[in-house]
């Protein structure tokens, strides 16, 4: 398997020491090293990653619909901007019926647009976001397109959708 990047193990160790049991799952030697935590601990973990571990850039926030009753998941890829680039991804699983994750907009300013996009396409609501409005789809669009159970409407404001 890919040899594990020493910086990532050091980072994971630091997080473990500070958060211990709150990190519910850890897999460092896969092709994509990640930690998993509960939505509640996420703002605290984000602040910790940014201030103490130097993860000053939130590279990417992907909202994934795990499908068949497994709920939605937000994957945060955070990185440090130092020369020797280290980064790790944090996965947070939320149930389908009430997908709420506290917003980390105050930690990384880029989370503002990412969370709006995740809300727009996958439908994860980010509590504490200053204006959680759709960013890519039209403001009055119904449904979240990237959910597996999404059926695209055949008419939008009278415009037929699929022109054969």
């Amino acid at each position: 398997m890919a040899q594990v990047n020493p910086a990532v193990t050091a980072l994971a160790a630091a997080v473990d020491k500070a958060f211990g049991a709150k990190i519910t799952e850890r897999d460092l030697n896969g092709i994509e090293p990640f930690l998993r935590c509960e939505p509640a601990t996420w703002p605290e973990l984000a602040r910790f990653l940014k201030d103490r571990c130097g993860m000053d850039m939130l590279a990417c926030l992907s909202g994934i619909d795990r499908g068949k009753g497994q709920g939605l998941e937000a994957v945060y890829n955070v990185e440090s901007c130092a020369a020797q680039r280290t980064g790790i991804s944090i996965r947070i699983r939320v149930p389908l019926d009430n997908p709420v994750i506290p917003s980390v907009e105050s930690v990384w300013r880029t989370a503002d647009w990412h969370e709006r996009e995740c809300w727009d396409l996958v439908g994860i609501r980010f509590e504490g976001h200053h204006n959680l409005v759709r960013i890519l789809c039209a403001e009055d669009w119904e449904g979240h397109p990237l959910r597996k159970d999404y059926k695209s409407p055949d008419r939008y404001h009278g415009i037929k959708n699929n022109v054969v």
Binding site: A2, D56, S62, W108, W113, L121, I135, L136
Partner: protein, 386 residues
Amino acid sequence: MSSESPTTVVNAGDLRTEEMLLNMGPQHPATHGVLRVMVRTDGELVLDCEPHVGYLHRCFEKHCESVTTLQSVLYTDRLDYLTAMGNNWGFCMAVEKLYGDELVIPERAQYIRVICQELNRIASHLLAIGTYGMDIGAITPFLYCFREREKILTIFEHICGQRLNYNYIRPGGVAYDIDEGMLRLISEFCAYFGPKVDEYDDLLSTNDIFVQRTAHVGVLPVKTAIDFGCTGPVLRGSGVPRDLRKDQPYGIYDRFEFDVPVGSGERGTLGDCFDRYMVRVREMRESLRIVQQAVKGIPAGEIRSSKIKAKIRPPKGEAYTRIENSRGELGFYVVSEGKEVLYRVKCRAPSFHNISVLPEISRGAMVADLIAIIGSMDIVLGEVDR
């Protein structure tokens, strides 16, 4: 944070001016595509601006969930349509990462990928510089840049048959081989292009009116840049020497020696529009050096790894890869269930971040500066809206 540029005009006490809400875009000559900026202006001064995106949203990620992996490579061409090679490569690298270590890309394919990516970067920077000159008012450099870009597009037409949407880099290697004639065309272009970059310097970069219009304008401090996730020439313009080809060398970039141009505030403050522009001009020279080294060192051999069969079925797993595209760090988060169709593809577009920083740096600027700032960000709406 009003920029300390000398143009901040103090409003005299009794002079009561009303604010005006100006709707710039989505159909406007200088917004580089369908970007709409709601600008609150007081006369010529921009008090606040708010970019609205989404007018070019073609649900790329939804497409990738209904089309096979091989077919979604050509949808990545339409993301940053000015550096389609970079998008192809980013997506294919993510798919190849799913295969883990046993998939080895043949040497010749790696060299061809580097040549195509760097040529495409030059073409994209040429367009960035040309349109930036036009935003400031100088129309002739645009035509000169497009004359050079035309040569690169013809080279691509020889290599893969298309001028803009190449669909050339495939998971496991590249689609067709490069023969001697094409290599000769590329080295001819490199010899021709070297002095031309100096010409743009003399025509535009040293031009005093251009410098006056771009120095001290749209100053992006390092902290805001990192906080908003800006990458590429925008971040390097603010002095952060961060380039994925150097920090995390992917492909065979560690074999070429080139340096990373960084903004130094030579004509104005560090991180202003002029720095971002100069970083792009110097980056073109670096890319030219890489192409020359790659053309010299390209080995013979097959161009696609035999492990990837015709029907690409990436193994189950998730992978996030990033590539240094011409506008910044282009990331792909790919989730596969082992079927031919990928389960989920998320594209992290650099322009999405670069444009989100616009309100921060354009308060207190003038309307003409706002156009200069949007131009210096060099955004492509194809990848902002995906």
